[in-house]
Point group: C2
Chain length 194, copies 2
């Protein structure tokens, strides 16, 4: 789904790993989305889904990242750092995405407009600033979310954070450590934009 | 947090592994919760958090499950099955918990009552039934969510599913495969109730 941060995460990791993939776009309202649903190729009804060569379908963006990232520089060798990476990735799906990405969706997708009430947008702005603050606080003393190098935690949280201003209407000025971190991700060799 | 399914998941895994742990209860409104927040011992502001012997704090229930479960019977040996286990765990945090657990929270926690409007409860009932249907469909042909044995995917999804009727107001009668699976989890040696 070209407009989706969850899909972009996977494209970004594949680009950083210089690994080719065949993609089928399933944007909202497209025939390909209707067809993918009819063929039950979206096990949880959502994109992205990774289809392996043997036909196995793997849903959930962050599970796809772990599958594709295993044994690469983006998964720490240390078991505790792996668990810390997963903490950020679960937090991203449980807290960050449900606020930062949802505010962007309400503001940008025509089919979500009805839910974009001033009260809901204000509530999401306040919660979202709290979440961005958690990231900024954590990044004040370190370059990457976990350990000394970029990991899947950074890639997964970059997806919806780097569009928080343009799409979500958040102001990142109060979060300088977060902004520097966004620049570091964008400088990774092989980086592709959304 | 004794009332929380996310905390219960961790207690359940530790009981199944017969692994002792010292717990500090941080129920809503308790002094221990206020104190834990003041001492910044809840990195993302939520329970549960696992504190290791060296003081490292690991938040996010499903990341704690992965950390404690590594090398045990609850993590499949096969890398693809591990990724499939994570798919269910990310789905649990991104979809299932935000609907099934949230409906239970609105109905049971006094501080959430104001959000428990009839419209919101009806909307969560419809979405929740869709999510329970995905699980029931998947479990019709198999005993466990991934592979041939119980995994962290089953434990994490059991937590809020087994209280969906009593706390969330869902009717599980239309989901026979799901109900059989709940019985299988409850029959695991060492099982403890919430």
């Amino acid at each position: 789904m070209p407009s989706s941060g969850n899909s972009y995460k996977v494209r970004l990791l594949l680009a950083l790993l210089d690994q080719p993939v065949q993609t089928i776009d399933v944007e909202y309202g497209s025939d390909t989305l209707t067809q993918a649903k009819a063929e039950t190729r979206l096990p949880f009804g959502k994109a992205p889904v990774l289809e392996l060569d043997d036909g196995t379908l793997l849903p959930e963006s962050n599970a796809i990242l772990v599958w594709l990232g295993q044994g690469t520089r983006f998964v720490p060798k240390d078991a505790l750092q792996q668990a810390q990476m997963l903490s950020w990735m679960f937090w991203e799906q449980n807290q960050h995405e449900g606020v930062i990405a949802v505010r962007a969706a309400l503001l940008n997708y025509p089919h979500r407009k009805a839910q974009a009430t001033p009260e809901r947008l204000a509530e999401l702005l306040t919660s979202g600033n709290g979440l961005l603050q958690i990231m900024d606080d954590h990044l004040r003393m370190r370059d990457w979310l976990v350990g000394d190098d970029a990991s899947l935690a950074d890639l997964c949280l970059y997806a919806y954070t780097h569009t928080a201003e343009a799409r979500g209407g958040f102001d990142l000025a109060p979060f300088p450590a977060l902004r520097d971190w966004l620049d570091r991700v964008a400088a990774l060799p092989g980086y592709v934009a959304l």
